[in-house]
Amino acid sequence: MKSSIPLWQRSSVRIVGALVLLIIMGGAVGGIYYTQIPPEQPIPFPHNFHIGVGAQCSYCHTGAATGPNAGLPTTDKCWGCHQQIEPRNDNLKLVASYGAEGKQIPWVPVAIQPDFVVFSHQPHINAELTCETCHGDLTQMTVAEPQKGQNMGWCLDCHQKMSTPEEFVLLSDCATCHY
């Protein structure tokens, strides 16, 4: 029998439509979510603990003051201290195993820029910026978390806020970051 109900009023059509919508929305939300959570690290490094025992950022990320990259610590740097610490838990055992074998820990970089953006830590450190200005409050984090909304507008806003109009000419010049 021919149904007189219009197509879009049938419950089956509506349920399928709602499901499709849900899947699309879910995909979008999921996709955005996965770019906002920290990537999985070989060892879940507790930043908060290390800062708590008094380690400076530049103790491990040594390049910040002198060059473009802050750098990630080598196994030697970890092993230098951890040799003397009893591996009480699984993570420390992992460190020990890397150290004993002399293998590098494959850290996953978190704060990365696209390849068409040239960023250098050195001038920022020279301008007496602190690390948490851009990397967030690491005393509250275990593994480093990506910071949200760090786009070009964010860079420019900060440059404008921190500089005089004359300096901003340089700090908003395209060749400062793109070449």
Binding site: F116, T176, H178
Partner: protein
């Protein structure tokens, strides 16, 4: 610290002088430029078709009849015009004038590839990424990390090795001094075996380039178009172009 940076930046006006009388056309500058700036190799066929990507090309002209021919060489690169025809035609500000270095910037990530700038450049100094060129195996480890590797569909051109300018400026400011003449050398000038290419700050009247620009032999390519080129050629003997 930034005050010093800004102050220096306002004094910058980079320029280049190429002495054609001692240029031997050896192409060392072309090679050095390609290595420094991650310029892809397009292969023989594409090169023959006129799609070579070099930012610097040696224009070779022949004078006289065979067998008495003399070659004439002229390295041609982006002239970093003060009043550049390529700039105002770009709809998205992908190519624009830097207030700091006073050079002509190309922002790859902003370019949408209309190729209008390339048509409008009287020097034909701009090249276009027709494809995503693969850089073959041993060469990919020579890529310069300071320079973007361009994708297909964007324009590119000589930047006066702006990465070296920025680095030199940061270096100088970290050491708390001003940039000195000779601090910054682009790859082509560094590689030139006859020292035909000189680079420096034109706003400093005592720099080497400023002195050479005042030479009797100096001329600028297609200056009559009003482009105000920042590259000066030196050529003795007969009058040439310009």
């Amino acid at each position: 610290m930034t005050e010093l940076l800004a102050k220096e930046a306002h004094d910058e006006k980079w320029g280049m002088v190429i002495d054609l009388d001692i240029c031997s056309g050896c192409q060392a500058c072309v090679t050095a430029c390609s290595m420094e700036n991650n310029i892809p190799f397009v292969g023989e066929d594409e090169m023959a078709y006129g799609r070579g990507m070099q930012w610097m090309r040696i224009r070779r002209y022949w004078e006289g009849e065979y067998p008495e021919v003399t070659p004439d060489y002229q390295p041609m690169l982006c002239q970093q015009c003060g009043s550049a025809p390529c700039e105002p035609v770009c709809p998205v500000f992908a190519t624009l004038h830097s207030e700091v270095e006073k050079i002509n910037l190309q922002v790859y990530n902003r370019c949408i590839g209309t190729r209008y700038c390339a048509n409008n450049c009287p020097y034909h100094a701009r090249t276009f990424n027709w494809f995503d060129y693969e850089i073959p195996a041993p060469m990919n480890s020579y890529l310069n990390p300071d320079v973007t590797v361009r994708r297909r569909g964007v324009m590119e051109k000589c930047t006066f090795c702006v990465q070296r300018i920025v680095k030199g400026r940061q270096q100088a400011s970290a050491e708390g001094r001003e940039i000195e003449d000779g601090d910054i050398t682009p790859a082509c000038a560094q590689a030139c075996p006859t020292d035909a290419i000189t680079f420096g700050n034109l706003s400093d009247p005592e720099s080497r380039v400023s002195k050479m620009v005042r030479s009797d032999r100096a001329y600028k390519e297609l200056e009559n178009l009003g482009t105000e080129p920042r590259v000066t050629y030196l050529k003795g003997g007969k009058s040439y172009g310009g």
